[in-house]
Amino acid sequence: MTCAETEILLHALLDGELDAGHARDVEAHLEGCPRCGAQLRAYRGMQQAMSAAQLRYTAPMSLRRRIEMTLPSAPRRASSRRSVLKGFVMGTALSTALAASLFIAVIRTDQDQRVLADVTSAHVRSLQGDHLTDVQTSDQHTVKPWFNGKVDIAPPVVDLTAQGFTLLGGRLDYIDGKAVASIVYRRRTHVINLFVTQGTASEGHGAKLDTMQGFNIRRWSAQGLEFFAISDVNAEELQEFVDKFEAALHSAGRT
């Protein structure tokens, strides 16, 4: 392989776009050619500098609203409740008990939806302007004590940088009228907000994925706490984040 060929192909190597055969050829050349090797390191450095800098733009809230307004309106939550009520009025064969439980389920869903809506707007707010973090550090031992006295729980903070999720810091936020802890992570160029709040003891519901306004939200409860991870990363990556977070939490020995 010549220098001229390597000069082009090292970019494909950098981008993980080379098949194994070509990757071996390029790497063999890079080992024997200090100049091409230096090129690769320089470009890798530049790529890392670019991914570390915040080069992306956040769409203004006004644009998001303008687009939302042009979309046909989403099914309203109220209408789902109304249709259930209409079922009662129409004199279905539902037993009173079943009807009551259904009604509670509908109300519970509305409550869930309100919390999710709060989580979503807190996330969107955090992306606007300069209020992503109140305490900005990648040191988990700085973030954790920062929450002392600010929220009535001790949120677990784990560093997942080695697993591809960089800890950016922490923030105080409000969800469902309560102060909650938000631990902020970054996946490549995407922000993940992890909201931690006091768990509702009775629930203990399992992991659940929701989508709201296009954001993916994973919620689960553990150790008496309730967690909401929200981001615009795809559902698989958000799941990966939750898995890594849980794994790190357990290996940290439930401190």
Partner: protein, 187 residues
């Protein structure tokens, strides 16, 4: 009954569209900002993109919505907004030929062997990227900022994968030179 079903199908489509496209709003806006330079134009282009995307959503057959959405956005940016924009966008593919006149590998005689580039703040890097000629700027924005694969970039831009690779190589080479030139200046 019929009307009700039609409404459901309509709402279902809107919901699917929303869930599929809105997570990419920041990415789309970022691409438009780099292609058009102007914040207000970028907003208009993105809104137009979402309108068109909704109209053609039924024709979307792929698995990845982002390249499909970006192809629509890029066409809009190249079309009316490029004409409207005060900045003349050299979107012509002929730029490639002119640039190709000098083989890439000869450049390293000219450029210093600075392996470690000095850290630059986001504002400076944004400006350096924004100053790249259009075909190279869009290649680097699609790859580094929007995380698209070569084949996805090829789909968006409508060129072969080989061209994507050579444009990226060229784009990074130009960016690195500009970056190093910047270092001669006081911070």
């Amino acid at each position: 009954m019929m009307a009700g079903n039609g409404g459901d199908a309509h709402q279902d489509k809107a919901r699917r569209f929303r869930d599929a496209t809105l997570p990419h709003l920041n990415d789309a806006y970022t691409l438009a900002r780099y292609l058009l330079h102007d914040a207000a134009d970028a907003e208009d282009a993105v809104q137009e993109c979402y309108l068109r995307a909704l109209r053609y959503f039924d024709t979307f057959r792929g698995t990845e919505i982002k390249p499909w959405l970006f192809a629509i956005l890029r066409n809009i940016c190249r079309g009316e907004f490029a004409r409207r924009s005060r900045v003349t966008l050299a979107m012509d593919d002929t730029t490639d030929d002119a640039e190709d006149a000098a083989p890439l590998w000869q450049e390293k005689h000219a450029s210093p062997e600075t392996e470690i580039l000095r850290q630059r703040d986001a504002e400076t890097i944004r400006r350096l990227v924004a100053e790249l000629p259009a075909p190279f700027r869009e290649a680097i924005v699609l790859r580094e900022l929007n995380d698209l694969s070569y084949s996805e970039i090829a789909d968006v831009v409508g060129v072969p994968i080989g061209t994507v690779m050579s444009r990226l190589a060229r784009a990074r080479s130009m960016l690195r030179k500009a970056w190093i030139a910047e270092e001669g200046l006081p911070t």
